[in-house]
Symmetry: C2
Subunit: 131 residues, 2 copies
DNA sequence: CCAGACTTTGACAATCATTATCAATTGTAC
DNA sequence: GTACAATTGATAATGATTGTCAAAGTCTGG
């Protein structure tokens, strides 16, 4: 059975108060800075569990690091992410969903999964860079 | 300036004769098995160069490994990949391209990039699994 | 054909994120 | 409370990738 520990709750809450995507390492550092003695391995495990349970979304940063986020949208969706400040916008795109399943079946593939992420510079970061 | 070495050519050729996506490690192993004394670091460097120069496409496997492939399509495109045997189909989807740029600009993002990959089981692997 | 200047190579060490270990701790059901 | 299985966390192990740097290779005049 699944137990309730303050560690798991701490991770859930820390993830909830974080705006963009965070890495396990980053969240662990934040928790430690906040005075929590939580262990790194536990943060990895908790994030993995949250992702499995659908409470968190995960993706790979362009540097190959696994990032997590507690999204407000319940269903399946994708993300538009600022590669400078991490600002994240949740996007739903039925057109992409149907396209993915269709391109898969059109080529005889079953059990399709897809990875769709858009990275860019948000308005604020664009302004800051241009200035 | 960029020099010509048999190592670079060996990597280019090995990549060309490989069907699906390969990892640096995998390509190095294949070259070694083929009798080449090429070094691992060199394979990493060569693949990275080929990717930079547009001669190879790269993506991250779902396990986080960097994979490379010499694609036949010249322009920008995406991939439909069998997660069992690695069979890869190159797919072009203008609809997805325009969607990505539009969703970015609609949210004030500039310099959009996107990652779009579809994974699944190819017809042969689907049959093998079901049988 | 050189020589010199500059690149590239490759064995090896160093990084760095992530996972495995495993004894000690802690939730939970009765 | 007791018993017992799940969880934790310090630490070691893993595994891909990158850094190092001396030795070897490549190219370009002369
Ligand atoms: Zn930004
Ligand atoms: Zn989707
Ligand atoms: Zn297959
Ligand atoms: Zn595209």
């Amino acid at each position: 059975m699944k137990r309730n520990t303050w560690q798991r709750e701490a991770v859930r809450e820390a993830l909830g108060t974080t705006d963009g995507f965070v890495s396990a390492q980053g969240l662990h550092a934040a928790l430690r800075d906040g005075g929590s003695p939580i262990g790194l391995a536990t943060v990895y495990r908790a994030l993995s569990d949250l992702a499995d349970g659908g409470e968190a979304d995960s993706l790979q940063s362009m540097e190959g690091e696994a990032l997590y986020r507690a999204c407000s949208t319940d269903g399946h969706h994708h993300h538009l992410i600022c590669r400078n400040c991490g600002l994240t916008v949740e996007i739903e795109a039925d057109a992409v969903e149907t396209w993915a399943t269709q391109v898969a079946s059109a080529n005889g593939f079953s059990q399709p999964q897809h990875i769709v992420d858009v990275f860019g510079l948000c308005a604020a970061c664009t302004r800051a860079t241009t200035a």
